[in-house]
Amino acid sequence: MPIPARVISLPLDRDSARQTVSGGQVAGGIVLLLVAAGLVRLDLVGSLIGLVAAVTAGYAVLMAFKSVVTVDALRHGPIGVAAAELALLEDWTLPTYTVLVPLYREAEVLGRLLTSLRQLDYPRRKLQVILLCEADDTDTLAALYEANPGPPFEIVLVKPSHPRTKPKVCNIGLARARGQHVVIYDAEDRPEPDQLKKAVAAFRRLPRDVVCLQAKLEYRNPDTNLLTRFFAAEYGTFFDMLLPSLARRGLPVPLGGTSNHFRTAALRALRGWDAYNVTEDLDLGMWIARGGWRVEILDSTTWEEANSQLVNWVRQRSRWLKGYMQTYLVHMRSPLRLWRELGPARFFAFQLLVGATPVTAVLNPALWALTLAYALTGSPLIREFFPAPVFYAGIVSMVLGNFIFAYYLVAGCLLRGNHRNAKWMLAAPLYWLLMSVAAWKAAVQVILRPHYWEKTRHGLVGEGHREALDDGGGGRPGPVPGGLGRDGVPVPGGPPAAGGERPAVTALRG
């Protein structure tokens, strides 16, 4: 069988974030600056008007793109695997599965992690769990040796070396993987026990060009504080709406960093993760698309801990946004090649998903300040930069954009059963402001410390939240007693609803 040329060429010259910008990009940047300086010298006001118009148009296009793609989730959800389909899977038919778990300073959460991994419903002899631990992380190592997990757990010591990143460690794990499928979990993850089997069933059913399944990530502590409320709603929008829609449209899918299930052969063909990219997941998602392969979203949940401390959140988010910047620069080293490999639609989707995300987060404070200043002063100086069409387009973008994205957050809350948090989403601009803080930090870091991995602290929330989850109650979106579960399936044990009708409160599709 002939192999598509672009797939063959993929592993041979995959770019890395080891070098943040290429020589060509530096030259291009200098030319751009010179052109801008020339324009400013020629006509300062005209240049600024042009800049404002371009930014406004960009925002309008971004808003339209995200709206259209996200609203498509009304029709398409993640790939589901029915219980009956799972029941048909016989153990002897299951392939070997490798679970990679990078650990760094995770002594506090190790016990719960091992419990979660032991709860995975998969034949032990076909399971390989590789715990990847930095050799100088004595606390975690001590906890590991004390726990002495035994088979199918394997402990791999990673020699401290530059870059000290998760993807580097994962690549070491990938080299030792024996499984036909490989999945990566973080230390604080609590995957649903049947997730591996669901992934196997889905892989078998889906076309072979689907080389990765992204399980849905969900926070187990959405109610800790305002930050976690927003974070949880954002995840709801991302994993329940945006990603399934991107996947169904064949657009590049930014992977979620954990609970990515791969066909091992394909992952090796892609040469694993970029050790220098601090959002190796996003980068890998783009390379999958460039290889002509696809990602699908699996309807199985991995519970995580939402970052509940402001400083810790900014650290984590700044790393993510720095990774977006790195990834954009890596893939835009040869825009023509990118265009050729992705095609026009996916090329533009890449620009809007990867390029526009950090750019808008950086620009937002300036635009808010400008709007506020104009509203308060009505300054003719500001008005000069906004000719009527730009002004109206800007107003429409601002009003519609803010509404739509806040509305999606509300939908994200309801989709995940966090109804009580929906009202907080009206304060979403506060969250976006925080994102801009992180974006500015990321912008500085991408220049000064591009490969520095801002470690996210886990275990900030007590395990009491976990217990609540296990109970299906407490702070978590458990089924409504006597009502309907997430999929509109009746939950026994409660009184019948009035009039025999009771709408599900979480199922979006139907």
């Binding site: 038919t93 036909q180 696809r294 109206y392 509404f403 929906a422 709408p503």
Partner: protein, 562 residues
Amino acid sequence: MSRLDRAAQGDVDSDDQQPAGPVRAPAALTSANALPAGPFTADPRSRARRVGTLLSADPGLTVALAIALVLSVASAAYFARAGLTTALFDSRSRLLIARTVVEGRHAGLAQLGGIWPPFPQVYMLPFVWNDALYASGIAGAIPSAASYVLSSVFLYKLVSRLTSDRFAGVVAVVAFSGPNVLYLQSVPMSELPFIACFLGVAHFTVAWMLRGSLSRLVMAGVMACLGTLTRYEGWALVILLIGTVAIFSWRAGHRREEIEGILLLLGLMALFGIGLWVVWNRVIFGDALYFLHSQYGTKAINSQQLGAMTAANRPNGNLALSTRVFGWAVLDNLGPVAVALGILGLARLALGARFRPATATAVVLLLFPIPFSIAAAFLGVEVIDDPNASLGGQLTNIRYGLLVAPAAAFLAAWLAQGWWLRWPVLVACVAGSVLVWTGGLVNVEDTTTVTTAPGRATTREGTWLHDHYGGGLVLIQRRSNENLLFTSGLPLDRVVYEGDRDEWTADLADPAREVRWVVTNAGDPSTGVPADSAWLALHDQPALLDHFQLAYQDGSVQMYRR
């Protein structure tokens, strides 16, 4: 050899179900056929397939759709041939508004203005740029006709879902398609787009109640949002919708935080249109409530219309008269048979055993125009008059009664459930429509009372200007002179009107600076038509008389030429 090459040759693990045997590479690595389809390629086909599947799975829907399509095209063609497409006074205004968005001295979305909710005019934009479609009024009839077809689909699905009787769904469409509905679906007005919106609200709300899908609730919110941007009745509909959903959720046993979330999801979307309209008024006109209390706002127009009526005919402050007037408006629009079938249907519904919360919700939402319109007439926010309701009354906004057509059709269909009643009800519906048709369409009659009212420019002046124009800019207030402006066929970029704001103000102060024609209208207090701004600013003023000569005068209209 690259890893991929090796993979292609089988040097990888397999995902096969067999525990042993030769290993195979994933097909994606070996077969070009396994490559994904390009982005955006599958959707249109799958959409067409979905529609096909939907129609073949529901023959009743196919029949209902076929009836609606045939009636829509046939009636639009008939009324166009009869010269009635742009006969309603407001239809010309709406066409002019839409046209000035694409053609004019300051073309752009701001020309949508701040008085009428903009959706019907926005809906016309894809067609109104075309001269022939604009001049014939077809540009505005297309959205109305499309709304009628969509309304029929919503009505069919609503009835068939609640009754599990497809024949009843078809009866509903037939009952809905009375002659006055068919006339209003053939003209550039807002009634049918609004009916489509509020039938959409009822359809999606009921679907949410029965199927529990949040997407249906979001769609109910979207339809309500469009309703608020179509007619001001939509604002009351939103409040009713939110209240209904709140009560239903509470009665269904949802917890407080669940109800809160549901209402937020629905309310944010449903109320967004109102917020948008308020912001629009603030940004464009500098006053968030411009639509309410501007010179041409609803408040001013209503007081002018009420002022022109005799005290005995004024429904505001008189609940009995308000009820009587609206009752006659409904009767005139739907005819006695449809009203009787509706009442019988309501009786059967109230006495029947199959009364469910979703059914009650549908009825409440569909019947909402009745209490709303009576209250609006009583409070003076809407002006309706009917010669049958009071001595000396004349047809004014009689078409508001048409908003009850969906409720009457729904109730007639409810009555038609069961084999022994379905055919008699269907025949009665058709007979009722024939009766209305032979008696004359009240909305066609309404066209003549408004468009020829003293104080308004008529098509006669428009024809004269068309024949004598000869170029140059024309200064004319659009309000009160819509007939003249539309009939004259002037290119709108040669017209300076109140929407041109700064230019309009400057030309009113000194018309000789650029315009060749000035049109003034003294209005007529007896019909509630005020003098226009051009007349108020320039009548007997040297700025006009020193440079322009009176070229035409008829009734209240004067045209000056330089």
